[in-house]
């Protein structure tokens, strides 16, 4: 009896792990506008809408996160943020998030740009790639589950791979005004 239960539990675990290995090699042809599906501000016509959380559809897939890691280099995020240690831009490895650590905050940062140097990438990076980068940026400070984060480096960096980076706990103090604290 207990053996059968074990098998059932194991099968359920395996099923749960499936999203991790999901790979989308061909994304749908993009539309013109970036930013659909993400609420960029609290101002809305008519009644004030409840701000809905935007779960990142790519955060469960190890493949997407590793794609995000490649895109992070291709789009030259490394130029300012280095490999997480920061430089011209703020570091992404630590617990300090000036504009929030939630996926939609990071998405907004990339799409809208931020004062003092962060350019807006609206229209420059396709939607699906944006979300992959967001997932990777969160993986850098250990915000993603370990089985999804990249487990090794492709290059000879001194940094630990994301999967063995301890999770930082960003305090919710630096949330931009108008956004509710969780």
């Amino acid at each position: 009896m207990s053996k059968r239960r074990h098998i059932v539990v194991l099968a359920a675990l395996l099923l749960a792990g499936c999203a991790r290995e999901q790979r989308n090699f061909r994304e749908a042809t993009p539309s013109n506008e970036t930013g659909e599906g993400v609420q960029m501000s609290d101002i809305a016509p008519g009644h004030s809408a409840e701000r809905k959380p935007n779960a990142n559809p790519y955060e469960d897939s190890a493949y997407s996160v590793s794609q995000g890691k490649q895109l992070y280099e291709m789009y030259n995020c490394v130029g300012c943020h280095a490999h997480g240690g920061g430089g011209i831009g703020p570091p992404l490895l630590d617990a300090k998030w000036i504009y929030g650590s939630e996926p939609q905050n990071i998405y907004e940062t990339i799409v809208e740009g931020r004062p003092n140097g962060m350019p807006s990438f609206r229209g420059k990076i396709p939607e699906s790639q944006l979300w992959e980068i967001v997932a990777y940026v969160r993986a850098m400070s250990g915000q993603l589950p370990k089985d999804v984060s990249p487990g090794r480096e492709d290059h000879m960096y001194a940094k630990r791979p994301e999967a063995s980076t301890p999770k930082e706990h960003p305090p919710q103090t630096n949330v931009p005004p108008g956004q509710k604290e969780k």
Binding site: T29, E73, K124, Q129
Partner: protein
């Protein structure tokens, strides 16, 4: 008997294949330049010495094996000292050592002389070309006294025939090596250090070159072409490369220019005259005039270009260009625009 003849057939085929591969697009044994000719001569000298020594040694070895076979009972006789035979042996070994030393000195002298000869090429006012290695393509810049006369292109080096040109090499990331075997030996491209190499092509033609220092994932797909052409043709090419391409005239290529400027392309690439200034990827000002894309990976045509833009990672995995899922209309317009950049 049948087995033996098929063995010799295989040997013959392999030998022929080796000989065939000596002629062609990228071969040090098909020299088309002054220096490559010296290197080729040195190669043949060393090759013939080595082959001769090899045959002599094998011949002696074979004789020894055969003779020992005829006198199998030799082990049963207790070893005897034959003074006369010992003396003869000593003389033979002494001669062999002497000959080896002489041959090594011949090769050393030939090598040093060749080294001097290929380093002696120079000229008063040569065409100066900067070749900068990137993972995994070659940036090529033609220096000029005026900044706006500088030509920037990629993976294609045009040189005038019969004139020494100087190539200044450097790298932005890792060590690469510049090697066009039909023209010269290798020269490393070292980050943070400028090297120079003189070249002269004696016959017009297109010579393939290749990165000769392992430099990462796509090292094998890092080729370039040296196009040697008569001086007038070279000057015409240079003048055309200096010019800024005419702005797009028809509706579709105008839209293509907008796609170029408003999408991902502009973040890394430059097309002079349209306001773009990306420096991470190859300069695309005259991309339509080039023979290949992606450092000699694919012939430059519309289909290949489309595939490259949409998903270059499936063509050259690991390269630094992200996939660009463009809308069909946009892609078409962009290709139209790129094809106007002659």
């Amino acid at each position: 008997m049948k087995r033996r003849s098929s063995f010799w057939l295989v040997v013959l085929c392999c030998g022929l294949a080796c000989l065939v591969s000596c002629h062609g697009n990228q071969s040090a044994l098909d020299s088309k330049g002054l220096q490559a000719a010296r290197i080729e001569r040195l190669w043949w000298l060393m090759f013939s010495i080595v082959v001769a020594v090899y045959l002599v040694v094998l011949g002696w070895f074979g004789t020894a094996v055969l003779r020992s076979r005829t006198r199998q009972s030799v082990q049963e006789i207790p070893p005897q000292v034959n003074v006369e035979a010992d003396r003869r042996m000593t003389v033979v070994v002494a001669w062999a050592i002497g000959l080896t030393v002489v041959l090594l000195f011949v090769m050393l002298t030939a090598s040093v002389r060749t080294g001097h000869a290929i380093a002696n090429l120079s000229s008063k006012n040569p065409v100066t070309i900067d070749v900068i290695g990137h993972q995994w393509w070659w940036e090529v810049r033609y220096e000029a006294t005026q900044a706006d006369q500088t030509v920037v292109t990629a993976n294609e080096i045009h040189v005038p025939v019969g004139q020494p040109v100087v190539i200044k090499t450097s790298s932005v990331d890792v060590i690469h090596s510049f090697w066009a075997p039909n023209l010269h030996g290798k020269r490393d491209l070292i980050p943070g250090y400028q090297n120079a190499v003189w070249l002269q092509a004696d016959q017009p033609g297109t010579y393939r070159g290749q990165c000769a220092e392992f430099c990462g994932h796509q090292h094998a797909h890092m080729a370039f072409f040296v196009v040697a052409e008569p001086l007038e043709k070279f000057n015409a090419w240079l003048a055309q490369q200096v010019s800024t391409p005419a702005p797009p005239s028809d509706q579709v290529s105008k839209q293509g220019e907008q796609v170029f400027l408003s999408h991902t392309c502009v973040m890394c690439h430059t097309v002079r005259g349209n306001g773009s200034g990306g420096k991470l990827g190859p300069d695309l000002t005259h991309i339509a005039s080039r023979m290949t894309i992606a450092a000699g990976t694919l012939p430059n045509n519309r289909g290949n270009l489309a595939g490259w833009i949409l998903d270059s990672q499936s063509i050259k995995p690991g390269n630094k260009m992200p996939p660009n899922p463009l809308k069909p209309d946009d892609l078409n317009a962009l290709l139209e625009y790129l094809e106007t950049l002659k």
